[in-house]
Amino acid sequence: MLLLSAAADLYWLGRYLSRSQQLVALLLDSLQKASLDDLGIPLSLTGSWQSYYQQHMILAEEGLAEFFVSTANPASLSNCLQAMRSDAQATRGCISHALWLTMNSLYLEWQSRLAKPRLFADNLALYAWLQPELDKVQQLLDDDLANEANQFIRMGQLLEEIDYGLRQHAVADLVAPVVPALRCDVASLLKEVNSLRPEQWSRVQQTTEQLQQAVNNLPEAKATAATSAVQQVVQQFTHRLADVFAA
């Protein structure tokens, strides 16, 4: 029997896991390309330009690499991993022992590496270490699909991917075929949500169907108004979900 509060923590665990996965892949890509345009993409996608310039004078690879490690940046990997671990700790009675061990070990090792003095190369190495560690967590989830707890982690991951896809779609400089992937993610999310009891989850189910319609109508080419409209439906989805969790 999965508690609503545990489901909420698991959902957010999924969101932070996905966020960490996307962010580390993006950072590795941006830092390896290292043009100014590429360096700006993580800041655009996380909405953290202002925060960056409060801590760094110029846009440079060293500053960017440090910014997304620093706990002073709310959007950093450190904060994502801490939130993910907190949610895992709160739900360690529901998730598998292997999943808890893997996430806790990842977090402890991250903390240990963070405590050492770091230059740019060290931060790059930190990201390169993190990526396969997050893959291990993902593998454990993929290997245990029947677990009720993992269903809510998957929902969180799917929503985060949808949200990320929409942000990519909204950034003019990014050329990425995200709409087909978005439609796929929304279809998966709808399948997960529709497996829940309608007596309790009907409003969430209805909003997910609205989200599907909105994403299906999203043009392949970037269109700010259309993207914005879909993002609003995503917001409504998160509110409906929060209402059920808080019941």
């Binding site: 508690l3 806790n104 019941a247």
Partner: protein, 485 residues
């Protein structure tokens, strides 16, 4: 400094317990028979191996998240409880006596709790003064007249035992509210089996890993229902014992809930799940009484469940342990437990109390004030080793401060002689050294009383220290009860 050459007749780096204390491993120059194998192992194990094993244990505990939150710790919220890799060993015959004694004691305490919340015969008989019970902070009037299934109030009890220099075990205190530590007992055993499988295999040790099954069975038996729904109620992950709450929930396969996960409708308790409200029949609560129900107790509690006491008094939910058990593990009631055994069971106590002076009595207070540097003084409402004075280790200023406190509120204190807790070989920075220990067996009361062999051995890691509580830097050891002497 090597672990080799451990025998007392060897060089200056041997193991030298204080001859005035009872040492669990050696008696004079002789190794006790049940420790011979461990002694031989310590003698042949290089120091670097011991260090490596300890580091391995720490890394495992950290990875598992077996941590403890220390109140007021500014360095961080999570710490490891130090685990000492050298086990504490108890011969079978000793354990049989301890087990019988603990069962007897908890049986009497449950009878006492039933009595004081019903006919109060023990008060009418003049055995325990009324004001000790009715004026006790933990006495709960809401429990008066409430009938509990099997007449069990404390379903899970922890009895703290120490061994004095004469080799006799004494009961230091009873814990009938929310005794903790059993998860460390289980994890310590797992760790020892992992680190030293050969050493474990060379001893016939009674198992402890069935504790969660026994606990679940006791909780099932606490309810008149056939297949009750059981939950563990936790104050949350910032509580010092959260690891244990989560561990037990996972081990028993029951939900771990916070107060906000439960709701009371029509005097029945439900939990909020993803499939709707599900009934709850038994709550193993790890919350103090005061925080259980904001409608019945502290109105500012956000940890409890509004209306829970109504459901409880209606008989629709079991609380383990029951409300109001604190009156029986209060230090001011402790001196009367041997009398309870005689009164309710018509038996002589198998385990003795530590001699205790009750400072509320003028004659006792005079004695305590006159001998303060020799005594251990405790708050009657205290726990976790906080708020106590260890006279022999106290400074003049600390003694003066305590004298003032005693004179201001004598009823709030008891005093006991400074007992020479037994020592046990412990792997400390300087090598193997004797450190003071105690023992907490866990007693489960359902239709029958059950114990797993041993319990949690706590060890004071500082040389000469008598404070074993983990909240104040104490550690734990794996506790072995041998299958035969």
């Amino acid at each position: 400094m090597a672990c080799r050459n451990m025998a007392a007749q060897a060089n200056d780096y041997g193991y030298y317990p204080n001859p005035h204390h009872y040492d669990e491993m050696v008696s004079g120059n002789t190794t006790r028979a049940h420790y011979q194998e461990v002694m031989d192992w310590l003698n042949r194990t290089p120091l670097e191996n011991m260090i490596r094993s300890r580091q391995q244990a720490e890394a495992c505990f950290r990875q598992e998240g077996i941590t403890f939150t220390v109140y007021g710790d500014s360095a961080g919220t999570e710490r490891l409880i130090p685990f000492d890799i050298i086990p504490r060993i108890i011969p079978n015959s000793e354990w049989q006596l301890l087990a019988r004694g603990c069962e007897q004691r908890v049986h009497a305490l449950n009878a006492f709790l039933h009595d004081i919340y019903h006919e109060q015969k023990i008060i009418k008989a003049g055995v325990v003064p009324a004001e000790f019970i009715l004026g006790n902070e933990h006495y709960q009037g809401v429990m008066q007249g409430l009938s509990l299934h099997n007449r069990v109030y404390s379903h899970i009890a922890g009895v703290d035992l120490i061994r004095h220099s004469d080799g006799t075990y004494y009961v230091l205190e009873d814990n009938l509210r929310t005794p903790s530590g059993v998860s460390y007992m289980l994890e310590n055993r797992n760790m020892t089996e992992r680190l030293f499988p050969n050493l474990v295999a060379n001893h016939k040790i009674l198992p402890v890993n069935h504790y969660p099954d026994l606990l679940k069975q006791s909780l099932i038996e606490s309810s008149p229902k056939e297949n009750p729904n059981i939950v563990i109620l936790t104050p949350g992950r910032f509580n010092s014992a959260y690891f244990e709450h989560a561990f037990l929930a996972r081990s028993m396969g029951v939900p771990l809930v916070g107060g906000s996960d439960l709701v009371v409708c029509d005097d029945r308790v439900f939990m909020k799940t993803v499939t709707g409200l599900q009934p709850v029949d038994v709550i193993y609560r790890r919350l103090d009484d005061a925080f259980l129900d904001p409608q019945a107790f502290r109105s500012d509690s956000v940890l409890g469940v509004a209306g829970l006491m109504k459901a409880y008094r209606a008989g629709n939910v079991v609380l383990a342990n029951a409300v109001g058990t604190g009156v029986a593990d209060d230090k001011s009631v402790y001196p009367f437990v041997p009398d309870m055994i005689r009164f309710y069971l018509s038996e002589e106590p198998i385990l003795q109390n530590v001699p205790t002076w009750q400072c509320r009595k003028p004659a006792d207070l005079s004695h305590v004030l006159a001998h303060l540097p020799e005594l251990v003084v405790k708050e009657t409402q205290g726990s976790g080793g906080y708020g106590m004075l260890i006279g022999p280790a106290a400074t003049e200023a600390e003694l003066d401060d305590f004298r003032a406190r005693l004179q201001a509120k004598p009823h709030a204190y008891i005093a006991q002689p400074t007992l020479a807790l037994s020592t046990c070989p412990t792997f400390v920075a300087a090598g193997i050294a004797p450190r003071h220990i105690d023992l907490r067996p866990f007693v489960l009361s359902g239709k029958t009383v059950r114990l797993v062999p041993g319990g949690l051995t706590r060890v004071a890691l500082k040389a000469g220290s008598l404070v074993v509580n983990s909240s104040q830097g104490g550690g734990t050891k794996d506790t072995w009860v041998l299958a035969e002497d």
